[in-house]
């Protein structure tokens, strides 16, 4: 290749990056030596932090957050400790995040038997049961279909179970309410694959099964499969993260996270539900009379203030922006109200992203803190007119042992000292 004129730093180097880097380091060292030998008196007086006086870091293949953001990590809830370190949840640190999209590396992760390492060249999706043409799809085949892109939240049905403890835990908001995240998902409408296989008339349910070592499986009504269900292949522009089901997961917008089967290996079309372990012994909602609600798929309308929130401290009086997230499995968020007096009075918050159904919405409200004690709450209403319930009203519906679908109002108490605490109000 004939070299063209141009700046050495921007030109494509036919000798490869290593040679280029060596050449540059040599060049840079020469520059540094020049600066040390002949410092300019004028330059010494100019403003400039240490990082403004040295050459910056080289390009890297996959970018990472600033090292000053290293404390922003997921909250682990490992149900069985070291016995099964990949069983349980890693919750999104919602108290540290802003906007609507959750970074892929901080997406909530609920897994039953750890994260499998799947070779996409070996992985197959099988589609069989009550269909005219049983089919199998290689990943190459799946990647060849026309795609659709949508933004949706995924929330574990056990999110906010930690807020059902007898005493309110003093932990960050994400450690209780962070089993939810929102991504841009790209994939194939499930209806397209079902049409290719051609459903038989008696097809009423699907059984979706993962290729993890739990072979996590759930039954899904055919109505949802033909509505907005997606065979998701990409998350936030890149192929799914392993923790989110690489190379392929089921996405059921607005429905409990457990049904959004990761590492999808099989779909069996059936006439009845299969009554798997995770739709009988788990993910059923025990009521006070001892009977349990089953197939409670849709996630309720919900919101939580993320800033300020539990374990934070307000360092001064004056202006704060109250910021939080709201969502509904039934559709769009219509409005979010915020109270600073424990629900006595409410003010309408400004929304971002409310045009999208089944996606996180950011709400914000300016607030002047005068130094008095306050109880901060948020209350969301969705386009179906459903209103986020008060804690007591929600609790009354269930057995004290129920862990699922807690979408009740969250309260943060601000003390006169500026401390923010989790309270049950």
């Amino acid at each position: 290749m004939k070299k063209k004129q141009g700046d050495a730093a921007t030109r494509v180097d036919p000798d490869g990056p290593a040679t280029n880097r060596r050449r540059f380091l040599k060049h840079g060292a020469a520059l540094a030596a020049t600066a040390t030998v002949a410092p300019s008196a004028r330059a010494q007086n100019l403003a400039g932090q240490p990082w403004e006086r040295v050459y910056g870091a080289a390009f890297i293949g996959y970018g990472q957050p600033s090292r000053f953001e290293q404390p922003v990590v997921r909250h682990m809830r490992r149900a069985y400790g070291e016995l099964a370190p990949g069983s349980g949840s890693a919750l999104a640190p919602i108290e540290s995040l802003e906007g609507i999209i959750t970074p892929s590396g901080l997406h909530n992760n609920r897994s039953h038997s750890g994260t499998p390492e799947i070779d996409p060249k070996q992985h197959q999706l099988l589609l069989h049961g009550l269909v005219q043409r049983p089919l199998q799809f290689s990943m190459e085949a799946l990647w060849s279909y026309p795609m659709t892109t949508r933004i949706h939240f995924v929330e574990c049905s056990g999110n906010s179970a930690a807020a059902l403890a007898p005493q309110p835990a003093q932990v960050p908001a994400g450690a209780m309410h962070g089993n939810v995240a929102c991504s841009e998902w790209t994939g194939i409408p499930l209806a397209m694959l079902l049409e290719e296989a051609s459903l038989l008339p008696q097809a009423k349910w699907l059984l979706a099964e993962g290729a993890d070592s739990a072979h996590m499986s759930r039954s899904v009504p055919i109505e949802k499969a033909l509505d907005d269900a997606m065979i998701a292949l990409y998350q936030n522009g890149e192929r799914l993260r392993p923790e989110q089901g690489y190379p392929v997961r089921l996405l059921l917008p607005g429905w409990e996270g457990n049904m959004n089967v990761k590492w999808l290996r099989r779909i069996k079309v059936t006439e009845e539900p299969t009554y798997t372990k995770d739709e009988t012994s788990k993910y059923t909602d025990l009521q006070p009379d001892g009977r349990a609600l089953q197939f409670t798929f849709e996630m309720g309308v919900k919101s939580v203030i993320t800033r300020p929130s539990s374990t934070m401290t307000l360092p001064r009086h004056g202006f704060y922006e109250i910021s939080g997230i709201a969502w509904s499995g039934a559709g769009r968020i219509r409005h979010v109200e915020v109270s600073t007096d424990g629900g006595a009075t409410w003010a309408e918050a400004a929304l971002t992203g409310e045009e999208r159904p089944k996606a996180l919405v950011r709400f914000r409200l300016p607030w002047e803190w005068t130094g008095q004690a306050a109880v901060l709450q948020s209350r969301a209403t969705d386009e179906k007119g459903r209103v986020q319930p008060a804690r007591k009203a929600w609790l009354a519906q269930y057995s004290s042992a129920n862990l699922y679908h807690n979408h009740s109002i969250v309260s943060w108490a601000v003390g006169t000292d500026g401390s923010v605490k989790n309270v049950y109000a």
Binding site: Q136, F137, A214, H215, T274, S281
Partner: protein, 181 residues
């Protein structure tokens, strides 16, 4: 390459030769390959309450006790008492109390689910490692611990779906959805 794939490929090659035509209209792409029954059978491990798909084999609680002690007890405790993993026995009659204990005996509506889950996911460190006889036997043992079957009653493809679980009628379906907030 499957026939549908071949047709799609031919169609796309035809399109490439005719640059003015932007896309196929009215026909969805089809890239799935036919799945043969033998391949499906190797993957189809889900067992509904009818018992359809249960494999050959058989096992009793007496046989299952040995399997349980070797493969299950470290996590689920002696006689299914639980800790560190879920309790498998006890709790019958507790569901409406202030301290409900949900176990296979007190809560699970179908015995077929027990076979299904043990076979697909247990033991947690070595799933798919038990023989079908062992899965039947250890399922029988867990049912026996809950007083649901006798110690020498064989569980198999015929008998397992016939087992009536104590909480069989303890669930209320929410699909299609009821009106709720």
């Amino acid at each position: 390459m499957s026939t549908p794939s071949r047709i799609a490929l031919v169609a796309s090659l035809a399109l490439a030769a005719c640059a003015s035509q932007p896309a196929v209209k009215g026909k969805a792409p089809a890239f799935g390959a036919p799945a043969n029954p033998e391949e499906i059978a190797r993957y189809d491990i889900s067992i509904p309450p009818s018992g359809a798909g249960l494999p050959k084999g058989s096992g009793t609680a007496r046989e299952g006790a040995k399997v349980y002690e070797q493969r299950c007890q470290a996590c689920h405790g002696a006689k299914g008492a639980g800790k560190p993993a879920d309790a498998l026995a006890g709790g019958q009659g507790s569901l409406a109390s202030r301290t409900p204990l949900r176990t296979v005996g007190s809560y699970w509506p179908y015995a077929t689910t027990l076979f299904d889950y043990v076979r697909r996911a247990m033991p947690i460190t070595a799933p798919l490692s038990l023989s079908d006889d062992e899965v039947y036997a250890v399922s029988a043992y867990v049912l026996y611990l809950n007083g649901i079957v006798g110690e020498d009653v064989a569980m198999n493809a015929q008998s397992l779906p016939q087992v009536k679980m104590p909480n069989r009628d303890g669930f209320v379906s929410d699909w299609p959805p009821r009106a709720h907030n």
